[in-house]
Symmetry: C2
Subunit: 105 residues, 2 copies
């Protein structure tokens, strides 16, 4: 049901990250399924909230690095620089304030 | 950011359950924030997937009762009867196959 949703057009090959996007005029929610270890370089945008479903994801938010496991959640305020290291097997949900955070594939 | 989303029109007072809905033609995703203990009687509909963010929620799915805590997820196949007991303080995300599972308030 979830994997039938449209995919985000990410700067990663589809073999590394599988995405499933639910989008309305109020924001964009993305289910991320990490298939191969990925490093997401430092960047910033409008507000983002996320939670980890499976695996351990390392997030650096505003210079502070922490591991996030299943059941933990994070909020990234607008404009705050953040980066991530996500190992194969991780599953994450992110909700973005911007309805057009990612283009769809 | 999330609590600014539209609310679902539930058969519970807004003082018991706060909802935030993201909806597209592919489905409806609802953030549930339980403010007062609620019992959701047995019912069924199209497929549902959910995960618990905070608190412990008791779900009975197809006759099997289990507690779900932060980081756990569940899938309810189409037509399978289910009910829930959610205590005050619980936070859950549910994704429904039906884009119109709930009307908006």
């Amino acid at each position: 049901m979830i994997t039938r949703l449209p995919e985000a057009d990410l700067p990663f090959p589809a073999t590394a990250v599988k995405t499933s996007v639910l989008q309305s005029e109020h924001g964009q929610l993305v289910f991320f399924q990490i298939l191969d270890d990925v490093d997401i370089p430092a960047h910033s945008h409008k507000a983002q909230w996320g939670t980890v479903l499976e695996g351990q994801v390392e997030l650096t938010i505003g210079g502070e690095t922490r591991m996030y496991g299943p059941g933990s959640a994070y909020y990234i305020a607008p404009g705050v620089v953040h980066s991530a290291r996500a190992p194969a097997g991780a599953k994450v949900i992110d909700f973005f304030e911007e309805p057009d955070r990612y283009k769809l594939r």
